[in-house]
Symmetry: C2
Subunit: 329 residues, 2 copies
């Protein structure tokens, strides 16, 4: 029997107790949020990478895999507007993996940790019968008042996305077709960058009212914001990305540009919303931030819950592909 | 190439940064300890169960497996003297597992959580190519001053253990030999109980100077205390357990009583030390605690680092079996 990730999250949520003391947010956001006193909050999240599901040892290296294991978790902290502090690693190692691989994996996690000021503080090591499994738990910190949840979007909000959704999915397709030449798309897939500075900056503006990282596809992750906020959305596909190289490579590979953009996973961009009356203030603040301003696109608006669609430049509805990337489908 | 767990912990520790601000204890104890302000500390630990390594779906049920996944983590909090608060679950589900199994697994984790006042606050769900993997992260709390580490044992200390080491290993042997009839040994293996009340009580006495839970075998875990504390030990094997039924079943199965006791894993007893000058005070306090006093045995003493041995009632050295249960050997 097949289990969809959404089903599973329903099962898990039902099993959960009512909200405990000190818990500001439990299941259903990028990270759980726990009150830490003195106006601070802890952010805690866990994400595992499974061989044959999230990575293929024929495509990646221990160095890139170590970085990615940590970076996908750092991205969850970015999506809440927090600062990451500590991480733990639970690893299952099959007989096919040697000590050199493991050393390189941990060295690259430590290196990646140093880049972001995050320390490895514990974990668990085990053998695994078949597949390599790397499960990371990340602990971050934020001011209680400035944590950004998935649930704050309101009808009329503008939707923004950072970076180029679809790049990672294009890179994965290239790897699957054994295209070996260096490519920024492949690089984006194997070694994604968590948007920690941007996430913190967005939270600090005080006017970003919902946020998520694009891990499973633009539409699927936007749909998560919509579900949590009880709203709908219209995405203007032509506003998302205009990258000549992307269009050229996708075209040559006979891949649908729209499908890559709307349902490609693992970009770890940030997708967020800003209320109507704060929009011009936000655009003004953004203009002053030279490191971010050229990488953020306004791609649509939040509507009431009855509308969920993407349109092209002429306002025609673009067929929504299956809802992004579900690890169970 | 084979990797020993000890090797791996060395690799991991080397990759770690120097101690971060607010970190009271990183890699190398049952849980990491982070300062939480106002004299409190957070305890964080992660432990994964891998199909074919830690459990066999032919032996266990989703209900028992769910409980065990959480309980082995609760045991890490018990071993630090803390109170568990929250947990996260990262799960990898192969195609062979159906939705009913997953529902039952999560329901039993939630039930077990309720028993201990612990709430599920997040996690990650994925498919897995081959094996079922359940990785749990536990978050607990304690007074900063009363956390008990592995590193506090001193020469001359008395060594104590709670419960009956070896019961779980005997149960596992029974399962492997397809012995189906109900048995407390099998029950102990499939559904172990974390010693949370005992761990907290021991920490609150203020005179227990080192502690660990017996997850990988009495001698291996005692050796971890010895390594962290830079000391040695003499274990008096005949003082450990005198259980007629245990001796009878082990005898019938032609298993070495000593080997089961010294190197059997997964009992989740607590192993701890008390300084020479606090010994009688401790025994007096213990006598007043009717719920614990009959389940705690004084089994030896801490020596300087040059001695590491087990002896029988006549003082003869008992051969130490290979150092307990290493998931890599």
């Amino acid at each position: 029997m097949k289990i969809s990730e959404r089903n599973l999250i329903d099962i898990i949520s039902k099993g959960s107790l009512k909200r405990a003391r000190g818990l500001l947010c439990g299941i259903g956001d990028d990270a759980a949020v726990i009150e830490a006193g003195e106006g601070r909050a802890w952010l805690i999240s866990t994400d595992a990478l499974f061989e044959g599901v999230h990575f293929d040892l024929g495509y990646t290296t221990p160095k890139k895999l170590g970085r990615k294991s940590l970076n996908v978790n750092l991205s969850d902290i970015a999506a809440m507007g927090g600062v990451p502090k500590f991480f733990l690693v639970s690893i299952g190692i099959p007989k096919t993996i040697d000590e050199g691989f493991v050393k390189s994996l941990y060295a690259s996690m430590a290196e990646c940790g140093r880049e972001h000021g995050v320390e490895l503080i514990g974990g668990d090591t085990s053998s695994s019968k078949s597949d390599l499994v790397i499960s990371v738990t990340i602990i971050g910190e934020a001011k209680s008042g400035s944590v950004v949840f998935r649930s704050g979007a309101r009808s009329g909000d503008s939707i923004f996305v950072s970076g180029m959704p679809g790049f990672s999915a294009l890179g994965l397709e290239m790897l699957k077709r054994r295209i070996k030449k260096p490519s920024m798309f492949i690089e984006k897939h194997l070694d994604p960058t968590p948007q920690l500075k941007l996430g913190k900056w967005l939270a600090d503006t005080g006017i970003v009212n919902s946020m998520i990282d694009v891990s499973d596809g633009l539409i699927l992750d936007l749909d998560r914001i919509a579900q949590c906020s009880k709203v709908g959305y219209i995405v203007e596909i032509d506003k998302i990305v205009k990258d000549k190289k992307f269009d050229e490579v996708a075209g040559k590979m006979r891949l649908s540009r729209e499908e890559l953009i709307l349902s490609g996973g693992e970009d770890y961009s940030l997708l967020f919303t800003v209320g109507k009356r704060n929009r011009s203030k936000f655009l003004k603040l953004l203009k002053q931030e030279k490191s971010f301003c050229d990488t953020i696109y306004e791609i649509g608006r939040i509507t009431d819950a009855s509308t969920k669609k993407a349109v092209d430049s002429k306002g025609r509805t673009v067929k929504l592909p299956k809802l992004g990337f579900d690890h169970f489908l």
